[in-house]
Symmetry: none
Subunit: 194 residues, 4 copies
C-alpha cells in the first residue's frame, strides 16, 4: 500500500497526487488508506521516512566496515547508492531534492537523510585528510561534502534517464572525479585564478 503511494508521489509530486489515485493503484478503497496511514501528510511523511531509511541502510550495508581506508569506504558507499537508486527509481524520485518543493515539513524529513549522508561523507573526507597529514578547514569539509553529494544526486538522475548507464559506471566516474580533487585539496594544491 505504501508502495502504491510512493509510486504516485513519484509520478505526480505531493500536491498533484490524489488519494483517490493512490487508493486505486493500491487496489483498496480510500477509507482504508486513511484508516491505516492517516492523512495525506502522514502518508507522505511515512513514505519518505521508510524510503530514506531503506536507502541509508543500503548505503551503510555497502560501506560495511567503517575502519577501512576512506577511499574504499567512499567507493563502496557510492556503489551501493547508485545501485539502490537504479533499483528503486520511484524511491529516489521521492527522496531527491526534486520533491522538496512541498511544504517545509517534508523538506525537513528528507533533508534529515541528506544531512546524514553528507555528514558521513564529511567524516570520510576528514579521515582522508588525516591519513595524508593534510590540512583542510572545517567549513571546506562541509562544502565539499555538499558538492560531492550533489554531484552524486545529479549523476543518479542523469543515469536514471540514460539507458545503458550502470551503477558501477556512475560510481566509477564520480569516484575518479572526486577523489583526485579531494586529494589535491588535502595536499593544499589549490587552483587559483591567475
Amino acid at each position: 500500500m505504501k508502495d502504491a503511494a510512493v509510486r504516485c508521489f513519484a509520478r505526480h509530486g505531493y500536491q498533484a497526487a490524489s488519494m483517490d489515485e493512490i487508493a486505486e493503484l493500491a487496489g483498496v478503497s480510500k477509507p482504508l488508506v486513511y484508516l491505516y496511514l492517516g492523512s495525506k501528510e502522514e502518508l507522505f511523511t511515512a513514505c519518505i521516512r521508510r524510503e530514506a531509511g531503506a536507502l541509508l541502510d543500503a548505503v551503510a550495508a555497502g560501506v560495511e566496515d567503517r575502519s577501512r581506508p576512506a577511499d574504499e569506504q567512499l567507493w563502496a558507499g557510492l556503489l551501493a547508492f547508485f545501485t539502490y537508486v537504479a533499483d528503486h527509481p520511484d524511491a529516489w524520485v521521492v527522496l531527491s531534492r526534486r520533491a522538496w518543493t512541498q511544504g517545509e515539513q517534508f523538506a525537513a524529513e528528507a533533508s534529515r537523510m541528506r544531512e546524514e549522508i553528507a555528514g558521513f561523507v564529511a567524516g570520510l573526507i576528514g579521515d582522508a585528510a588525516r591519513d595524508v597529514h593534510g590540512v583542510i578547514a572545517e567549513r571546506d569539509v562541509h562544502a565539499l561534502a555538499q558538492a560531492l553529494v550533489g554531484s552524486a544526486e545529479s549523476l543518479a538522475d542523469w543515469a536514471g534517464g540514460t539507458p545503458g548507464m550502470t551503477a558501477k559506471e556512475a560510481a566509477s566516474t564520480l569516484m575518479n572525479f572526486a577523489w583526485a580533487g579531494l586529494g589535491n585539496l588535502m595536499k593544499s594544491e589549490r587552483w587559483s585564478p591567475r
Copy 2:
C-alpha cells in the same frame, strides 16, 4: 507581473501557488494575468524561460571569451553562476531541480537550460582534454559535466542557506574540487577499486 509570479512560485512551488496571490502581489486583477499570460501553466513556463535566459546570459557574460584557456572559462562561469544565484534567490529556487514537479511538462523547459549549461561544460572538458592531449570517452565527458553541474547546484543551494558564504568562496571550493579530478581523469590516472 512576472516578478510577482516568480516570487510566488519560489515561495510555494508550482501547485501551491495560487493565481489569486500572484495577481494580488502583482497589484493587478486576475483576469489581467490571464489576458497577458494565458493559463497558469503558460505563466510558469514563461517565468522559467525568462529566468533561465537571464541566468544563461549572466554566465555567458561572465565567461566572456570562448577562446581563453578552459580552466579560466570554467572559473569565470562558476563565479558568474554563483554570483547570479546569490543575487537572485527566487529565480534560482524556480529554476533549480527542486521545482521540477513531477508529471508536469515544465521539466522540459528548465531541463533545456540545464542541458545547455551541461553542454557548455562538456565542451570545456573536451577542450581541456585536447589541451593536455589526454583521452577521455565522449560518454565520460557528459557524465562528468552532469556531476559538475550537480555539485554546483548543490553548493548553490547550500550556500543559499549558509550565511557568510560568498559566491567567490563557493566557486573556489568547487573549482578546486573539480579541476584536479578532471585533470587526473584526462591523464588517465584513474582510481580503481583494489
Copy 3:
C-alpha cells in the same frame, strides 16, 4: 448498550453522534450494535421510546391516583417530572425538544410522549374546570396544556443549569405560576387589553 447510546446522543445530538463512539462506549463492537438494534435511526428511535416510557411511568407513578383533586394530581405529576429529569439528565436531553432534529422522523416518537403528557394535563384542566363549574373552551384547554408543558420543559432545562435548584422548588414555582392562572381562566376572569 442503549445506555451508551443515550449518553452519546445526549452529548452530541443525533447527527453528530457516531456509531463508533457508541459502540466503544458500550464496550462492544460495532457490528453487534447493528445486529441488535439495526440502523442508527432505529437505535435512536428505540432510545427515545425507552426513555419516554420511563419518564411517563415515573410521572404516572407520581400521580398515583387519578381520582384525587386535580391540583393534587398536577402537583404530584410536576414533582415527579422534575425529580425524574433531575435524576436522568441525559434522558431529558434526548427527549426534550432540543433533540428534535428537523426533517427526521423521530420527532414523531418524542412527540407522541409529549402529546400523552399534554393530553393528561389537558384532562386535569378539564376536571378542574368541572370542579368549579367553570366553562372553558376545548381549544383553550389544549393551548393551556401546551403552555404548561412548555413552561415545565423550560424550567427543567433552566433548573438543569442552575446549581442548587431542587426539583421541589421548580415544581412549586410552576404550580404557583400555573394554578392561579388556570383558576382565573376557569372563572372567566380573563385579562384583556384595555
Copy 4:
C-alpha cells in the same frame, strides 16, 4: 441568499443541511456561498444572528414604550412575538431550542437572544411586583421568566402546527394563563401541597 440558508437549516437542522442544497435553493453556485458567507459555521452563525436580531427588533417595536404598565408591555411583547413567529416560521425553527443540539458555539449565539428576552420579561415581572407592592424573591423572578418564555416557545411551536390558531389568540391565552399566576405570586397567595 441567507434566506435560502435559513430555509435549509430550518428544514434539516445544521448538520444535515448541505451546502449543495443551500446553494441550489439560493439559485447560485456553491463557491459563491463560500465567497460571501465563509464556512458553513460562519453561515449558520450569521443566520442565527440575523434572525435573532430581527425577532428582538420586532418584539421591541411591539413593546414600544417601556414606561407603560407592565401588563400592557407584556401583552404587546407577546403579541409581537407570536405575530413574528407566525410570519417567519423558518426563522423560528432555527432560533428555537430545537436547533440547539448542534455544537456549543451556536447554542451560545441563540442562547444570547433567549436570555435577552428572559431578562426583559424578568424586568417586567419585577416592575409589576413593585406596582402592587408585592414581594417576590429574585430567584423566583428568574424562574418565572424562564417559565413564561418556555410556555411562549411551546405555544409558538404548537400554534405553528395548529391551523387557524392566530397570533392574537395565542397571546391572549398565554396572557391569561400567566398574568393571574404572576399576580397571585406577588400577593403571596401561594399554592402549597396539603
